[in-house]
Amino acid sequence: MNFSEVFKHTNQLCRVSPDGKYLATCVQYRLVVRDVSSLQILHLYTCLDQVTCMEWSSDSQFILCAMYKRALVQVWSLEQPDWHCKIDEGSAGLVSSRWSPDGRHILNTTEFHVSAESGGVAPAARQLSLPLRVTVWSLCSKSVSYIKYPKACQKGLDFSRDGRYVALAERRDCKDHVSVFVCDDWQLLRHFETDTQDLAGVEWSPNGCVLAVWDTCLEYRVLLYSLDGRLLSTYSAYEWCLGIKSIAWSPSSQFLAIGSYDEKVRILNHITWKKLIEFEHPATVSNSKAVVYKEMERRHVGGCDDLTLHHQITLGGSLFNTQSKYEICPLPVQIPVVKPDPDRANPKVGISSMAFSVDSRYLATKNDNMPSCVWVWDIQRLRLLAVLEQTAPVRCFQWDPRRPRLALCTGSSKLYIWSPAGCISVPVPVEGSFPVQSLSWHSSGQALILLSKEHLCLCYLETEAERGDVASS
């Protein structure tokens, strides 16, 4: 495992191009494009203001930089560095900007920010956000399309994996609707009303044939629509309680995992759309087949014999650097639980994030009232496989896009990787501390991008053969 030198970034804006060749980072108003292998700067673009959003086009040809405050979007080309494009959304507020799957259209969601001073509608200095429309700008022609009535919600817009369709949540006449557009020519394919109180999100199945629609957290309801707008099934686990918090499709489109506020994950199958199994997240793990890895921290004492001199020099900067390793806890294990504040909105309880591994064999989940734990479930055997108990709350976890291994970070200067063979904790050998706030995999699965608040660093993982060596030792 090797680590690159450290680069600066702002706003966590650091993306690898879809073809895996380039790394784009934003530093204030500058956009830096590097070669991933050599980390040499290839291009440097200067935007008009501090960038708040940056995205690669699907063909890795263009980079979109959005400046929401100024309602501006700038597009840069890799092939023609002097080519430029600027989109001004005018007086409407820009809230979201993204590429269409073909990489030639930009979808801008605009809102009107109505404040007490300007509009005089509300007596208090309260801001009302009115999702106004989605503007589709084309880079190929002068055509501009508008999509009216978009709904501002958890996930109101979703492109199908093959990039042919886009589903958009709409609100018309106090009723939720979903529109399906063909991305090729932005033609409305289907438009249907959904039986939801307050639609919270839409998500395509990876094969693009089923659209999952879920209701707001006040109501547990998942609706599954076919591409042609037929309602396939409705699922509701319970009533009168806070409902769905997150949703995840397995890459095989075979399972739909629903994480809810009752600290459970329910998995639906793709044939009957009935519940296959319910994964609980108990405070005491007593399942004899699960392995609980507990991160144990020990203070780094100077002159530790397993570190070379070089390490001591590199680590010497931080005196209180701690080393940590995993230990397998004998069952049953008590997991620390944080009691949520009942008086605050969006209580910190329930399954907030879930992710399937690329082979759909494993599911990683995080329960918000057990913030320091990541649970890994075996989907083949439908049981708990491992629990990773960290010393700090888990910030981010992501599966390797190629292999079933999970990388996670906790805001400490360490990187943690789980694989079915075991669990490792690697300190980031950077001068000073490097609290890893978030991470993302390179599409080849051979590198990881680690982001701290202002810096980023690449972590190169060994190839398969090397990995085998390590595993066998």
Binding site: S91, C140, K148, D185, K325, V470
Partner: protein
């Protein structure tokens, strides 16, 4: 009646006495009364004897005593006998009455104490009564209070219910109001949005624009098409195509899965049939209690055939038939398993102890046998060594012997083989003969001697064959014989004798190394081949080093757990 009358008379007597004040009630002692009589003596004096007598007489008669004197002659001569009798009777009466009195007094005392006790009891009971009365009143009071409370609580509940109802009403009304407001607001919003949109369009927001240096081509290289009905139809078609593809692939998957399941089902069925059918055949003959299951087994094959057909058909009816047959067979299998379980448990309980004992015994026996064999083998080795020594005691020196050995090796081998065959035959004959001999020994004791002579002859012949001086090869074959026959018989003493005779020959005894050399187990010192010892060392060395490496590898593995090792190793860059 007589007694009662007596009693009454006594009473009257008492009462009459009571008239006299001197009379003491409690202590009525005779001397005292006498004294009183003497002191007072008012009743009778010299003067009034006759009156007294008549009076007494009257009294006596009235009391039913015989008269003291004749009534007729009132002169008054007393009849002494009757007086004395009367006196005696009176005294008796007196004494009896006294006793009665005493008894009565004790009775009275007893009754008095009883009375006292009863009184005490009474008072206590009264107290209890009082107390329980008080308690009951207290309880009554409490009950009343509780009832009051219940009433008040009921009132409260009623109020609360009303309140809840009210609140619910309020909530629902507010909810509806909220919903209404929401809708209104949303409508307002939408209107506002419309207006804003309109305004934007009317105003022609100048800032709303796109600046592109030059338009780029589509990613697929094609030119964009005009939106027409045709494209719409094409989109629809494509959509249905993708859906169809998805369904098709899913159907294919399901088909594969179905086929696999069917295969498994069929296999299971086949296996079930194969498990069940032989049992049926075997049990048909021996048991009658299986007769209930027999009809099932008879149509089993038919069912099996039909199921095979149904698997291909896979229509509803066939499926039912299939599942039914499977279920039926499964039930039968279960019954069978249960029965087997029962049997197994019975057998286990019955013969567990026996088996163990037997096995241990046999084990010990075999150990004994093996020990014996080892002993025999050792003996044979010893005798062999001795033989070799004798053989080597011939005049030629070691090297020539080795050479000779070399020369003879192949020939010897051939001959040995032949002789081995011969010997085997001989052995067989011998054993046959031995068997005959034992049988004959039992049956025909007298023939034994002749047979022994025969055997002695045979042995002699063999011994002659064995002697190294006659024929080396023959001796070798003979030498092998004990080894071969060691298990069957052990006529050790004879062999010992046979081997011990040549031992007496005066010869220099060669070392075992020489023996090895002659046996070609050990190469000559002069030969360029590596010494076996050395080779051994090398071998052991290799093993040792391997051991070490294995150990170090193990240690390494122990040292570095997957977690810590990778973590520390991978950190350098």
């Amino acid at each position: 009646m007589a007694e009662s009358s007596l009693e009454s008379s006594n009473m009257s007597c008492n009462s009459s006495r009571l008239m006299y004040p001197s009379r003491n009630h409690t202590h009525s002692s005779m001397p005292l009364s006498k004294q009183s009589y003497s002191v007072l003596s008012a009743f009778c004096s010299e003067g009034n004897i006759t009156q007294c007598i008549s009076y007494i007489n009257q009294e006596m008669s009235s009391l039913g005593f015989p008269a003291l004197c004749n009534e007729l002659d009132s002169g008054g001569d007393l009849k002494a006998v009757s007086v004395l009798n009367n006196m005696y009777e009176l005294l008796q009466l007196h004494r009896r009455s006294l006793r009665a009195l005493e008894e009565l007094e004790t009775e009275q005392l007893k009754s008095a104490s009883h009375l006292e006790h009863l009184k005490l009891c009474n008072s206590r009971l009264k107290e209890q009564l009082e107390q329980s009365r008080r308690e009951s009143t207290g309880l009554c009071e409490r009950e009343r209070q509780l009832q009051m409370k219940v009433k008040s609580l009921q009132n409260c509940l009623k109020n609360e219910k009303e309140e809840v109802q009210k609140l619910q009403n309020i909530i629902s009304s507010r909810a509806s109001q909220y919903n209404h407001d929401m809708k209104r607001k949303e409508r307002e919003f939408s209107k506002l949005k419309e207006r804003l949109n309109q305004l934007l369009i009317d105003k022609k927001d100048k800032r709303l624009a796109i600046e592109v240096l030059n338009y780029v081509g589509r990613s697929d290289g094609k030119r964009s098409l005009w939106k027409t009905g045709k494209t719409e139809a094409r989109n629809e078609g494509e959509m249905y195509q993708t859906l169809l593809n998805d369904y098709e692939s899913r159907q294919k998957e399901l088909l594969v899965e179905n086929a696999e399941l069917k295969k498994v089902l069929q296999q299971m069925k086949k296996e079930m049939v194969s498990i069940l059918s032989p049992r049926k055949h075997s049990q048909k003959g021996e048991t009658i209690d299986d007769s209930l299951e027999l009809p099932g087994s008879e149509n089993e094959e038919e069912v099996c055939d039909s199921s095979r057909e149904t698997l291909e058909l896979s229509c509803e009816h066939a499926r039912e038939q299939l599942t039914n047959s499977i279920r039926q067979q499964w039930r039968r299998l279960k019954n069978h398993m249960e029965k087997l379980d029962n049997q197994a448990s019975l057998v286990q309980n019955g013969s567990l102890g026996d088996n163990e004992v037997i096995s241990r015994k046999s084990h010990e026996e075999t150990v004994e046998k093996l020990k014996l064999e080892i002993q025999q083998c050792k003996d044979f080795i010893q005798t062999q060594q001795q033989l070799w020594q004798q053989q080597l005691s011939c005049p030629c020196d070691d090297e020539t012997a080795a050479l000779l050995n070399d020369c003879y090796m192949l020939e010897e081998k051939e001959r040995l083989k032949e002789e081995w065959k011969l010997f085997d035959e001989q052995k067989k004959n011998f054993e046959k003969e031995r068997r005959n001999f034992t049988e004959a020994a039992i049956r025909l004791g007298h023939e034994r001697k002749a047979f022994e002579e025969d055997r002695a002859m045979w042995l002699k012949h063999q011994f002659l064959n064995m002697t190294p001086f006659l024929d080396r090869n023959k001796s070798q074959s003979a030498l092998k014989s004990p080894e071969a026959s060691e298990v069957t018989v052990a006529p050790e003493s004879q062999y010992h004798n046979a081997f011990s005779t040549p031992k007496a020959a005066p010869a220099k005894i060669p070392s075992t190394a020489d023996l090895y050399r002659t046996l070609r187990l050990l190469p000559d010192h002069g030969s360029p081949r590596s010494q076996p010892k050395n080779g051994n060392w090398q071998d052991s060395d290799v093993i040792l080093s391997r051991d070490v490496s294995a150990k170090s590898g193990f240690l390494g593995a122990a040292d570095c757990s997957i977690y810590s090792l990778v973590g520390t190793e991978s950190s350098p860059n």
